[in-house]
């Protein structure tokens, strides 16, 4: 699908929501699909600009080579690290069972 065809289907929105870990409900899917369709129609305007030979800008300010010396800095204590945790056990963050495998 090319950018200017614009239309986004409800199924696509459902797929994107899954990728983004959002358990959206059916009613939201309808609303989002309509709204995103309108928004995509508007933002697809960027495609009108002839910019084949234009370099993209990823950073607003042209800095490079910003480094930190390899020196240790005080971090958080275990207690601080876990202070916001919804659940913790044995100094670790406790999370529900993980279904997928590591990358």
């Amino acid at each position: 699908m090319s950018a200017d065809s614009g239309a986004i289907t409800r199924a696509e929105v459902a797929h994107l929501a899954r990728l983004a870990r959002l358990a959206v409900n059916d009613q939201e899917l309808d609303v989002f699909a309509d709204q995103l369709d309108v928004i995509l129609g508007a933002v697809a305007r960027v495609g009108e600009v002839a910019a084949d030979d234009i370099p993209p800008t990823s950073h607003a300010v042209p800095l490079s080579n910003v480094f930190r010396p390899d020196e240790r800095r005080a971090g958080l204590t275990q207690e601080q690290a876990l202070s916001g945790a919804p659940a913790a056990e044995e100094g670790r963050f406790r999370v529900p069972q993980i279904l997928g495998e590591e990358e």
């Binding site: 699908m1 090319s2 950018a3 986004i8 696509e12 929105v13 994107l16 929501a17 899954r18 990728l19 983004a20 870990r21 959002l22 358990a23 959206v24 409900n25 939201e28 609303v31 989002f32 709204q35 995103l36 309108v38 928004i39 995509l40 508007a42 933002v43 697809a44 305007r45 960027v46 495609g47 009108e48 600009v49 910019a51 234009i54 370099p55 993209p56 800008t57 990823s58 950073h59 607003a60 300010v61 800095l63 910003v66 930190r68 958080l76 601080q80 690290a81 202070s83 916001g84 945790a85 919804p86 659940a87 963050f93 999370v95 529900p96 069972q97 993980i98 279904l99 997928g100």
Partner: protein, 518 residues
């Protein structure tokens, strides 16, 4: 209440009407104490900031922290120590997007309700080091996405000029706190206009510094390549004073510029003398025509005449690619948002919604569904789409090219003019509820402010009078090249002085009294 307290209260209400510079002068000369000044603002907050009927600028007020910070300043001054900064003792309202180790940081979102960060943002640390008591954290659109604060998970902020209207956004809380005299200083963040548009809508001053001028460390990211924290106040000089406190290189932020902070206080003082001869002011016609409310246009034209009267030379500049800025912005921003907000997953901090789910994957999705509001979800989905393989080049990649072209437009315009001007926002403050279900209409608020974020340059909004048709404030946007803050402040101060003279006093003094529950 004792009669002492009543006298105190009346003196207090006078204190809240003063500028930050005036308050600092009185505190440093020991005419009043920092504690008295802080208490006066806490009293004002208590009087006007009711969540259900009042301004509701604050999500969290920490009277004891603010008062003890103020007491430390008093102690130090009483001991004959020089003030830690020109603003030592003058209290401030901090947007709830900057981390504070002693107060919650929610970013206006349910997903971070009650989260207490274990660290201070660099901006927060600099405020503390400058002896500036932090009154509390201000309301905002969730994750700084919005132009009205209606997308806050904790209720809307109301515009002190008319409580039925929005104060702008996302930094509506900070701007409203200033306009309601709840704080003389505030910090905002600006990703596409979140400092400037609320400033315009509340008759206050707000500056988006050059990208990299103020550290983003501890600023909960909306869109990393666009976000920038900046100073807000009721006068140009106060804004400049605060600017110098928070700006400057920070090794904790890789995108922080390692260069001296422009002398913006001197520039503001110099500008107030009112002479702009030899200065070229570029008028961006692309940002002042169609879609702009009549009163916005007429106050803008009046501002141009004033600038001319101050000796500035007006030149027309062309920025042909600005018309694509909004589209590029609403691809780049959601893309970065979709990635930045992935960390809110119920594993390490913040909300966890289980609802019977047993897997981490389900808990993540349920929590994010429950914890994010509709606008945030919309943008996450949009950004996920724009970065998807197959769409990247057409959307995100192309938007980045447009970004380059917008920077080039700015560069060309700054060849012809020292600063550029436009109205800050296309309309004055709109009624609460008007655009909340129409995302695209909401996005149009940022038409004039977005190009600056895309280019990483600096811009500010100064009050430019009241629109005749609704009596609500409008703002003049002044834009300057990267690190060109000094000339921008100079023009702003000159314009402010001229307009105040013509109006017979600062516009902000005409804001309604708001004695909601006093």
């Amino acid at each position: 209440m004792s009669s002492d307290a009543l006298t105190g209260s009346s003196m207090n209400s006078e204190l809240t009407r003063l500028t930050a510079a005036e308050l600092a002068q009185k505190i440093h000369s020991r005419e009043v104490s920092a504690v008295e000044v802080t208490q006066a603002h806490l009293d004002r907050i208590a009087a006007v900031d009711d969540r259900d009927e009042g301004v509701h600028a604050f999500l969290h007020v920490d009277a004891s922290a603010a008062l003890s910070a103020a007491a430390l300043v008093d102690e130090s001054l009483d001991a004959g120590t020089a003030p830690a900064s020109p603003l030592a003792g003058v209290p401030l309202a901090l947007k709830d997007v900057l981390t504070t180790s002693d107060m919650p940081t929610t970013v206006g979102s349910k997903i971070l309700e009650g989260w207490r960060p274990p660290y201070d943002a660099t901006v927060t640390a600099r405020l503390r080091a400058a002896g500036i008591p932090i009154l509390g954290k201000t309301n905002m659109d969730e994750f700084a996405m919005g132009s009205s604060t209606e997308y806050s998970a904790y209720g809307v902020t109301r515009n002190p000029w008319d409580l039925r209207r929005i104060p702008g956004g996302s930094g509506g809380g900070s701007a409203a706190a200033l306009a309601a005299f709840e704080a003389p200083l505030a910090i905002g963040t600006d990703t596409g206009g979140s400092i400037r548009q609320p400033a315009a809508m509340t008759g206050t001053v707000g500056v988006k510094p050059t990208y990299g001028a103020v550290s983003r460390f501890g600023l909960v990211a909306c869109a990393s390549s666009l976000d920038q924290a900046g100073p807000c106040a009721r006068t140009v000089l106060d804004t400049a004073l605060l600017h110098e406190v928070i700006a400057g290189h920070d090794p904790m932020d890789s995108t922080s510029i390692d260069a001296p902070v422009p002398d913006v206080v001197e520039a503001a003082r110099r500008g107030a003398s009112g002479d702009l001869r030899g200065l070229r002011v570029g008028v961006v016609r692309e940002l002042s025509g169609e879609g702009y409310q009549p009163g916005v246009r007429s106050t803008f034209e009046a501002a141009l005449r004033q600038l001319e009267a101050l000796g500035a030379e007006l030149v027309e500049v062309s920025t042909p690619h600005f018309r694509y800025a909004l589209a590029a912005y609403y691809l780049i921003l959601p893309s970065e948002v979709s990635s930045n907000l992935a960390r809110f997953d119920a594993m390490r901090y913040g909300l966890r919604v289980e609802n019977g789910a047993t897997s981490a994957e389900e808990v993540m999705a349920l929590t994010r569904e429950a914890g994010f509001g509709p606008e945030v979800k919309r943008r996450i989905i949009l950004g996920t789409y724009a970065l998807s393989s197959g769409y990247y080049d057409a959307y995100y990649g192309q938007a980045q090219k447009v970004r380059t072209l917008i920077s080039r437009d700015f560069a060309a315009a700054f060849e012809q003019a020292d600063v550029l001007v436009s109205p800050t926002a296309p309309t004055t403050a709109f009624p609460i509820g008007d655009k909340v279900d129409d995302p695209l209409a909401m996005y149009l608020n940022d038409l004039a402010t977005i190009p600056t974020n895309l280019a990483g340059t600096t811009a500010m909004s100064v009050p430019s009078g009241l629109a005749p048709e609704d009596g609500l404030p409008t703002g003049l946007q002044i834009m300057a090249p990267a690190l060109g803050e000094a000339v921008m402040y100079r023009v702003a101060a000159a314009y402010e002085a001229a307009r105040d003279a013509e109006d017979g006093g600062p516009l902000i003094q005409r804001v309604p009294g708001l004695e909601v529950s006093a």
